[in-house]
């Protein structure tokens, strides 16, 4: 971005903005009929420079950046404490990003294990074929990723924002944004005397953001664009985890599962090792859960009984269970990311990257939170909080590769959720592998005949295969 002139970059920003607006079909100006009654703040409401709604990774990052710049920042969280409402175990791949913000953050933060081993497993009901990647290079600072437990991590991260000077208020649910003319000027908290004023409101209220919709920046989602994740944390002692997953000391493992674990429902599964527990769960597309009338926890149980998962979770004692929605359709469901006086970041902006081998939301939440915080700081420097001024947010998101990643991978969600990728290909891979390894007294066949035979029996047209290969290339390859 640095090599573009200011005019050129603004023009680009406007183009991106138009593109997003167009894709969503709804902008505040297009849809006055859907706009709610807009209320103005009551007189006497307390004023802040920035109000951040939601103390998840996005919100804490935004509050931290703004508070460090000396702004008067209020961070509002609906839970009893940050993280109390968050789905617990996760793999966090934003270590280097956080390192920029808080050098050597892993030395003080509650991390579980650094992930040095990643597995991508293709499953059928009885078989699994896996790619197992392992490197000691991920065991060196700044590390590639960590397993974390969200209630503890989120609380720590919010505390960093507080240490930088942000004022954190828990048990405060934001019910609506407040307007003066076409400018957002504050929020209303669900309590008596609940109005608060701010020059910039940053909505970081997570998936299916109420605030972005309330401000008319986001349309209603379709069921195929959202997934439901159900997750469990299973307590298991440290020594068993090390032995069972072949790990040294604090090394950790993340497994992503594709294929039969979610049966006919589009989705996937995952398993991460924590220090003395496992986080595992399944993710199912909401539309296909409904279509196949499956309950998410049934899928979780099926997943845990799968012959290649059962021995891994044996003896684990359920410590937590939770469910949460995930915005899945990526680029196609990004809201308008700003309006006068307001920015949207993290899951609230649907900046969650879900595509087969990737399930990354926290790192994008932090990236976009930083970008939003910086945008608010710059707006304060110029005392200009108009939509025009806040449009720079998009530049910052591009500079941090957030928007570029989502644009590049815009085809991935559709591909990953297609029935052939969900069920047929894992089946083919597993079937072929089985033939390669099976010894049954017959002639030993070479690989090519096995491959051709597998394809013939799968009854899939070469056209579809080519289409999928092209889709896969377009989604992940180039």
């Amino acid at each position: 971005m640095a090599f573009l002139s200011k005019e050129a970059s603004l023009a680009l920003v406007q183009r991106v903005h138009r593109l997003i607006g167009m894709k969503n079909g709804v902008t505040p100006h297009d849809a006055p009929q859907r706009r709610r009654q807009r209320s103005a703040p009551r007189p006497g409401a307390e004023r802040f420079d920035v109000i951040v709604v939601g103390a998840g990774p996005a919100g804490s990052a935004a509050a931290l950046v703004a508070a460090r710049a000396g702004l008067k920042v209020l961070l509002l969280e609906r839970g009893e404490y940050p993280g109390s409402k968050n789905v617990s175990g996760a793999a966090f791949y934003g270590s280097a990003i956080l390192h920029e913000l808080i050098p050597n953050w892993w030395e003080q933060a509650p991390v579980e294990r650094h992930l040095t081993r990643r597995v991508l497993a293709f499953m059928t009901a009885e078989t699994s074929v896996a790619i197992d990647f392992r490197t000691t290079r991920f065991a060196e600072p700044p590390y590639n990723g960590f397993s974390i437990l969200r209630p503890r991590f989120d609380r720590w991260f919010a505390d960093q924002a507080v240490a930088a000077g942000a004022f954190l208020l828990n048990a405060a649910v934001v019910d609506e944004v407040l307007w003066e003319d076409d400018q957002v000027v504050g929020v209303r908290v669900r309590r008596d005397e609940g109005d608060l004023r701010a020059d910039v409101v940053i909505a970081c209220d997570g998936a299916n953001s109420f605030l972005a919709k309330n401000a008319g920046l986001q349309r209603e989602f379709h069921a195929h664009e959202m997934s439901l994740g159900v997750k469990e944390v299973l307590a298991l002692d440290e020594a068993t985890i090390r032995e069972r997953f072949h790990l040294y000391d604090n090394d950790g493992l993340a497994i992503e599962y594709i294929g039969a674990i979610t049966e006919e429902v589009s989705g996937g599964g995952f398993l991460y090792t924590n220090r003395d527990s496992l986080s595992l769960g399944v993710i199912g597309q909401i539309s296909s859960l409904a279509e196949h009338r499956r309950r998410p926890y049934e899928l979780l149980e099926t997943f845990k009984r799968h012959p290649s998962v059962a021995p891994l979770v044996r003896g684990g004692r359920v410590r937590e269970y939770s469910a949460h929605i995930i915005p899945e359709a990526g680029w196609n469901m990004l809201p308008k990311l700003y309006t006068g006086g307001m920015l949207v970041a993290g899951d609230a902006a649907a900046l969650c990257f879900v595509a087969g081998l990737y399930l990354e939301g926290i790192n994008y939440a932090i990236q976009s939170g930083i970008a939003a915080g910086e945008t608010a700081v710059a707006a304060h420097r110029e005392r200009d909080f108009s939509a025009r001024s806040l449009a720079r947010y998009l530049e910052r998101l591009r500079a941090r590769y957030v928007l570029t990643d989502f644009a590049n991978y815009r085809h991935a969600p559709g591909l990953v959720n297609s029935p052939r990728l969900q069920n047929l290909y894992p089946e083919l891979i597993a079937g072929a592998a089985e033939q390669v390894f099976r010894v049954n007294g017959g002639p030993k066949r070479k690989l090519l005949p096995i491959a051709l035979d597998t394809l013939r029996r799968a009854n899939i047209s070469p056209i579809h295969m080519l289409q999928d290969a092209w889709q896969a290339g377009r989604s992940f390859g180039w």
Partner: protein, 285 residues
């Protein structure tokens, strides 16, 4: 009216996790809140005090207990104070009660002290009574209703099996309020923000005019108690000399005769005689 409310920080039950091997609590995961009886006491205090009254909150606990006091400030308490002896292991209800009593004797004496009837962690229910003892005030425990008129509190107390007792107590008095008789109000945003910003004063032993030796109550002794085996009961066999229909009735009723009490009436001396005779007959005296 001035009311003091004593609050205790207890673990939030949703954060309690027990290690199955060692049976130890995972302390890192615990979060502290005020228990349901304490929040009921706080709400009753705020209601009784009304707009003119003054409610102050007290809590014996480490710095983390400030959260409980902030909750009281947010709901409308005018003042909060934390009591603590940093280097002493404060464990017994007597120590807690002594610190509270010392704090209540300094400054303006309240008309009423409200406590929760029992905490949701240890739940000994002793602090209110001990506190009243140290203050030399009357105390009523298990209170389900309070009205105050003049210098008198009219209270309702819970007895066994759903019975209630009405009492009148002269003020100042200590009352231990049952959980569930009032639900703590939802704090306003202004209240919440003010509470969050308030500095909570701390009184340590020196400030309370106490010495570590004052807190040296005899250590409680704990005994392991195993649940008793149920008493063996002889199986009833009907008297074989009786006619058949009587034996059948005996079997059906299993020989059980209903327990029945006897209510004595008459002049006290006469009733006492009957009672003594009754006990002698059965070999108790």
């Amino acid at each position: 009216m001035r009311i003091a409310v004593c609050l205790k920080q207890v673990p939030d039950p949703t954060t309690v996790e027990v290690d199955p091997l060692t049976a130890a609590l995972d302390a890192r995961r615990l979060l502290y809140i005020a228990g349901p009886a304490d929040t009921a006491a706080l709400e009753v205090a705020l209601q009784l005090a009304g707009a003119e009254g003054h409610v102050s909150a007290l809590c014996v606990g480490p710095p983390a207990a400030d959260a409980v006091l902030r909750q009281a400030l947010a709901a409308g308490a005018a003042e909060a104070r934390r009591l603590w002896a940093p280097f002493l292991p404060l464990q017994s209800p007597a120590q807690t009660a002594l610190l509270l009593a010392a704090a209540l004797q300094r400054g303006e004496t309240p008309d009423l002290v409200l406590c929760g009837a029992r905490s949701s962690d240890h739940g000994s229910g002793q602090v209110p009574a001990l506190l009243a003892e140290f203050l030399d005030w009357p105390v009523v425990c298990d209170v389900t209703q309070i009205t105050v008129e003049g210098g008198l509190a009219r209270v309702q107390r819970r007895l066994d099996r759903g019975a209630r007792e009405e009492l009148e107590v002269p003020l100042p008095a200590a009352l231990a309020v049952e959980a569930g008789i009032a639900r703590l109000r939802h704090a306003s945003l202004t209240g919440l923000m003010r509470a969050e910003r308030a500095a909570i004063p701390v009184s340590e032993l020196d400030d309370l005019g106490l010495e570590p030796a004052d807190l040296a109550f005899p250590a409680p002794t704990a005994r392991m108690v195993t649940p008793p085996r149920p008493r063996t009961r002889p199986i009833f066999t009907p008297d074989s000399t009786r006619p058949a229909h009587e034996r059948i009735t005996q079997i059906i009723t299993a020989g059980v005769t209903r327990k029945s009490g006897k209510v004595l009436e008459g002049p006290p001396e006469q009733m006492a005689d009957v009672l003594v005779e009754f006990l002698r007959e059965r070999g108790f005296v």
